[in-house]
């Protein structure tokens, strides 16, 4: 099973749009651990996930084929 990852701002510079295999990943908390291991840069940044265009506030189940967005805060004006 796989999910699609999209990202924004600074994060898109090191996590390009891609599909990842989520074998062994069944929820967003586990996905976070996986992402921070695969892309250590995000572990020192504030970011939020959205699962199928909904902000992830609490650990949420992933069943496959979802689109997960990773976004940092923007401050520029």
């Amino acid at each position: 099973m796989e999910i699609e990852i999209i990202s924004f701002g600074k994060i898109s510079e090191f996590i390009p749009r891609q599909k990842i295999d989520i074998t062994g990943i069944s929820d967003t908390d586990t996905l976070k651990v996986h992402l921070e291991k695969a892309f250590p840069q995000i572990s020192t940044m504030k970011y939020k996930l959205a699962l199928n265009e909904k902000l992830v506030q609490n650990n949420t189940l992933i069943s496959g084929n979802e689109v997960v967005a990773i976004m940092p805060p923007f401050s520029g004006g």
């Binding site: 600074k10 940044m45 265009e53 004006g77």
Partner: protein, 365 residues
Amino acid sequence: MATERYHRQVILNGFGETAQVLLSKARVLVIGAGGIGCPALQYLAAAGVGSIGIADDDTIALSNLHRQVLFNTDDIDKLKVRIARKRLEKMNPEIEIISHPLRLQRENILTLLKGYDFVLDGTDNFESRYLINDACVLLGKALIFAAISGFEGQLAIFNVADKKGQRCNYRDLFPIPPQPGEIPGCTENGVLGVLPGIIGIMAAAETIKLITGIGQPLINQLLHYNLLSHDQYKMTISPGDNYVMADNENDFLKMVDPSFCNLKPGYNEIDAEQLIILQKQSTIIIDVREQHELPILNDEVYKKAPMTEFPIFLDSEIEEKNIVFICQHGIRSILAAQATQEKYGSRKNIYTLKGGIVKWRNYFI
């Protein structure tokens, strides 16, 4: 009310005179007369928003002009709010434009916001954005949030109840503000002038939709816009439960964000991890220890300016945006940061390494 000025929008199906009257009665505060604020102000004024406030304490610089389209070359060094008000009054003398030449602070923001119904945030730093958000939550003001990074923009409406009666705010997205240097702003990162133009006009459009009740404003939604691809991504925001808001003005005045609590003296104390982040940007690191002190650091990376000669050093101009001072224990570097802050004010980001080289020895050698 149906003046010739607004004729083309009044005849629009679904807009009409009713919407125009709502615009004329609306009071909108635009905070930050910069890349986002300028175009937003132009369109809000042109559309006939009855009362528009502009809050900004900055003066116009040459490097502003490629995106801050209300200003001319001969306006350099003049107050942004003054020039913006003059330009907008000329463009539409039928509305009221109020300039607020002040830096928003916890102590003055509530008084300022109370005179308005809608707040458009086009500022350029997280400290202001969190302050504006928290004040809008306390006072129940609608907040139109517009921000940019690189070639991308973010747009959202906070503090307005959706159909389910739910209201979200910026802390539902990011409860804790980023540390200094964690997310670069336009000064370090660069910006193409048209991007804040697009996002600023989109923010003005959301404001007009909100005032007049047309369409589907981005209530409890965050829109991402990418200038290079024209890709848009819209997501729904739901309330989070991992932050606490002030529920009265006294508590609001006492709120402290740990990320900003060192900003008051005009410089920030950072750790080695933040130093590494800053090193990737326009940053000069200055070692203020005397020549004989060990360990001796690579002077190509750590510029030497001993405290005994510091006044002479300070006479020269520093080009970099970020200035980090280091010393043995992080005490003398505070004095250097204070002296530098007196010279540059808010034009530079000034940092000092807390605990000094002794604490972060492994990082330096």
